[in-house]
């Protein structure tokens, strides 16, 4: 969705800044300080989503004896995936492959260790703002480096989302190896397919503004696969186990909401009307979904719950993610209401029937919400937002078909890939924590620490 889309540029002429318009002459392309300012902050916001956002959201939902383990999982992923990203991940995901046949499927190693990327290079990726570089190729208005770091935060949070599926019963060493492999062999390729200039799903025209398929479906499917393969928690009886600290859940949901503005409105890679619109639909979809879940709780179970409304908000944020650059207010409201209806049914009715133990509903919220969002993007995409994209309700049924394809392919790839990696790591070091460790709690057994201490 990002590279060399000169046709869009023309259509978006109005929104292209006067500055870049002037630089169409053979002057050196320049960094736009405003776009860069926003992207720096957006990057920080997406980090805030992981730590402390997601750590709090997930950590609050588990039992007291496992909260540090969840915090640690998120924290170490921030560390390890960031290092992986600059060493090889970015190159694999967004780079170009020297082997022609592989180009659509995976990037190469040219950018390993961010080799050949200078501090003054401009981003080769852009959406609405671009300018002509000295070599004649179009470039964006932000430094290449900030694009790399923005994407780094996406690479970090995606495996972190899976944590929700296997929380409270996984061996830490196994978890770590699995997550790194998963990033290398599942995340990086899928990101390449959907977002890289020569990715095959990108070329096909699959729409994923900020990561519906790459992030949420991808992680959500991995979640359900690991949840099933790892087996249930020893005392799981088909229903959620109450959160040890619901205030943490809400604080986490709040920080996720705020950080998601960086995630979605940052994905336009500029500070412009498209970013403003992305922020708006993100906010409104989250609000509508939160409200819908609260009402479902209220109607069905007599009282609106705060875990419910938080879950609804996150569901809304998930579902609007692929659509954030393509829909307006009506789309946002529709997506928000629908995602809560579907996820509520999933979590409250389907899951207990199927009996798998997705501890914190990583699949139920991220997987299901992501799938719904990706499909609805194909339905609701409005030419009023980006004139070259439209969905089924505007007669473009082809887009919906492409979305189905992208969703299907991601589900299969992530599902099968996760299965293989899981088997492998399970053989290698074992993934399931011992029954005794699970009973005592993972904080004590994996890290030798207790979250809350009362002496003195």
């Amino acid at each position: 969705m990002k590279k060399n889309i000169l046709s869009i540029m023309a259509l978006l002429a109005l929104s292209v800044s006067a500055l870049s318009a002037q630089t169409a002459a053979p002057v050196a392309p320049t960094v736009d300080a405003g776009d860069t300012a926003w992207m720096i902050v957006a990057t920080a916001f997406v980090l805030l989503m992981s730590i402390p956002g997601l750590a709090l959201f997930y950590g609050g939902l588990v039992r007291r004896k496992n909260v540090l383990n969840v915090f640690m999982q998120v924290f170490i992923l921030v560390a390890v995936i960031s290092v992986e990203w600059v060493i090889i991940g970015y190159s694999n995901a967004f780079g170009s492959n020297s082997i022609e046949a592989l180009k659509p499927y995976i990037g190469g190693f040219d950018w390993a260790f961010l080799n050949n990327i200078g501090i003054n290079d401009l981003s080769p990726y852009f959406i609405s703002h671009s300018q002509v570089g000295l070599d004649g190729a179009a470039v964006g208005t932000i430094p290449h480096i900030i694009f790399i770091m923005f994407q780094c935060m996406f690479a970090v949070i995606t495996p972190a989302l899976i944590i929700g599926a296997f929380a409270e019963r996984i061996n830490f060493k196994g978890f770590l190896i699995f997550s790194v492999l998963w990033s290398l062999f599942i995340y990086n390729p899928v990101a390449h397919w959907v977002w890289a200039g020569d990715g095959w799903l990108f070329k096909l025209g699959a729409l994923d503004f900020a990561g519906g398929t790459v992030v949420h479906i991808n992680a959500g499917v991995a979640a359900i696969v690991t949840a099933i393969m790892l087996g249930k928690r020893r005392d799981y009886k088909g229903h959620a186990i109450p959160a040890h600290n619901i205030t943490y859940v809400v604080i986490g949901a709040g920080l996720l909401w705020v950080g998601w503005f960086g995630f979605n409105a940052g994905s336009g890679l500029a500070a412009d009307g498209l970013a403003a619109n992305a922020l708006m639909v993100t906010h409104i979809a989250a609000a509508a979904a939160a409200l819908t879940w609260a009402l479902l709780d209220w109607i069905i179970d007599k009282r609106p719950t705060i875990v419910g409304i938080s879950t609804g908000a996150v569901g809304g944020l998930v579902a609007i993610t692929p659509a954030a650059g393509f829909v307006g207010i009506p789309g946002a409201l529709a997506i928000g209401v629908l995602v809560s209806l579907v996820c509520f049914c999933m979590v409250a009715y389907v899951k207990p029937k199927l009996g798998y133990d997705d501890s914190l509903d990583a699949f139920g919220v991220h997987g299901v919400g992501g799938i719904l969002g990706a499909l609805l993007t194909g339905v609701l995409a409005s030419p009023l937002i980006q004139s070259s994209y439209s969905g089924a309700i505007y007669g473009n049924f082809h887009q919906l078909w492409i979305q189905f394809l992208a969703v299907g392919v991601t589900i299969v790839f992530s599902g099968v890939g996760t299965f293989i990696l899981f088997k492998l790591v399970d053989k290698l070091v074992g993934l399931r924590a011992s029954d005794k460790h699970e009973a005592i709690g993972l904080d004590e057994t994996q890290h030798g620490e207790t979250a809350y201490n009362n002496f003195d």
């Binding site: 229903h239 109450p242 709780d297 179970d301 009282r303 875990v307 419910g308 979590v347 409250a348």
Partner: protein, 115 residues
């Protein structure tokens, strides 16, 4: 002297507290406990009904002179009652001796303020 240990619903705590004051009980201690048994409490998490057998309860520890035993027990029985399973229990123990740290008074005298 007797020690009364009453395990009550948290929600009845304020009522019990007032009933005890009305009976002239000057002091008691309490802390929160979890009761684990056959009955369950319902909690709804993300639309799923969760039947928890861990139940929040409050433990009251009241040491009284023998003459006050009956009225204290009655006060608790009356004020902590809802009629539904899980109202709690009262246990009575014998106490051999009591000391007031402030003035080293001991025996029943340590239990009430003469001033």
């Amino acid at each position: 002297m007797k020690k009364i240990e009453a395990i009550i619903r948290k929600s009845k705590f304020e009522d019990v507290k007032e009933a005890l004051y009305d009976q002239g009980i000057e002091w008691f201690s309490y802390w929160d406990i979890t009761g684990l048994g056959k009955s369950t409490e319902e909690q709804i998490v993300r639309g799923q009904v969760f039947q928890s057998s861990y139940i929040h309860r409050r433990m009251l520890s009241i040491v009284v002179r023998d003459i006050n035993l009956e009225k204290t027990i009655n006060a608790i029985l009356d004020s902590a009652w809802t009629g539904e399973t899980g109202d709690g229990k009262i246990f009575v123990y014998d106490i051999e001796d009591t000391f007031r740290i402030r003035n080293r008074e001991s025996g029943p005298d340590a239990l009430f303020n003469k001033e």
